[in-house]
Symmetry: C2
Subunit: 276 residues, 2 copies
Amino acid sequence: MATQLTDLSKLCVHTITTKPWNIEQCAEEFGKAGIGGISVWRNTLEGLDIGRTGEMLRANGLEIVSLVRGGFFPSIDSIKRKEAIEDNRLAIDEAEALGSPMVVLVCGAEPRISLEKSRAQIRDGIEAILPYAENAGVKLAIEPLHPMYADTRSGINTLGQANDMAEYFNSEYVGVAVDVYHIWWDPNLEMEIHRCGNHSNLFAFHICDWVSPTLDMLNDRGLMGEGCIDIKQIRTWVEEAGFDGFNEVEIFSNKHWAENQHEFLEKIKYAYLNQS
Amino acid sequence: MATQLTDLSKLCVHTITTKPWNIEQCAEEFGKAGIGGISVWRNTLEGLDIGRTGEMLRANGLEIVSLVRGGFFPSIDSIKRKEAIEDNRLAIDEAEALGSPMVVLVCGAEPRISLEKSRAQIRDGIEAILPYAENAGVKLAIEPLHPMYADTRSGINTLGQANDMAEYFNSEYVGVAVDVYHIWWDPNLEMEIHRCGNHSNLFAFHICDWVSPTLDMLNDRGLMGEGCIDIKQIRTWVEEAGFDGFNEVEIFSNKHWAENQHEFLEKIKYAYLNQS
């Protein structure tokens, strides 16, 4: 049984979830709502003093859970691969400046090369940035992405693959972000979540829902309870695996972005307490 | 290395691939093109004398490879589950009448129950129809479907799961249909294809491609060569696994259906010989 969620102290909301709001609005509204944490997407930091933005978030009572996102290592072009590594170092700098303990990695994929090669380039990319991350004290969370994103977004498509990768590095600075949207269908899910915990690699837990029919492959995620994912069951496994961090609501949704975001945030709070 | 495809004798085209054509047009055009086989979708048989349609296909030089599709076993409603079993028996009758040695199963899923329960209902459904299939001499090919269809179309989403299911039944009448579109991303693909062959369960091989970006989750499949799937690599493994049946072109594509189907069929022939 998953623990009962009775308050919002372990609720974290990604800035992308309320995309129409800028970071100041997210800080103020999440803070007023009593939400405990925020995961910051890099686009919201453009043009801002990142250190001061971190202070502003904390002043609103928000714990900074993660910076989203690094990764996108594979390319057919070696110059672009080097640029990706530089950009990941920049993300680590930003996380450090912001006061975020973690960068989430969407690892990338290149449809013009084999998945095997993309996966090797992902491993090489993480290898290249790991000393930098360790030095900065910033953790790297490998997020396995749904197989429908294997062409261009990630060659890491199962929790098993993410576990393999994290265990290969065997560093307290490399772990995994478990997002129910990407892996809910996996017949090995329970086993792989427990494995992830056993290796102290369960760094983050993201929630939303899978709606039927899904009208857009990127931006039609559901609010918890709107779809078919048994979030409570997965949260039970995640907690059994020793995870006691934030439950991060990460929803990309043209439908919900078109709503009044204050009303949407109320729905998120309700769904978090009742449907997660 | 995959064998070189030098003629169309092992090419099979699904009637859905050239959806604008009725079965008579498919028979005539596939036959004139020198294509060796046809897989018949049940919708094309509505209102027709099925036995006579089978004769018509064979008279056009076409081998009938499979009838598509049975399955869709799970439901929250026990009456609907019984109806599904009746409909699968009807599909077996139709296959027998048509002279098709096989029915492809899209196993189904019900978003209002857990995947675990859907999977149990799939197993129960196959169990219920297997004696009927054996009696008719019609094989059942379990087709694992891409995880993006796990909500409503199939709870069998990896070749590993399909292999498990086929091995559970341990019948020469239950095997697997390997479709590159559904399983190309799977890190265990080579191993599971070989396993499938080792158990004599590799009943069918379907080809098409995954285009980037994919604009529609159902009807934006690519012609071989238009996307990122390494079809030759997968065909190599399928042949290593002992498969020497037809390479079945199964493409759902709003784009290609809108083309002149004669020109599309020419493209299929070219892509089959050069991009598969």
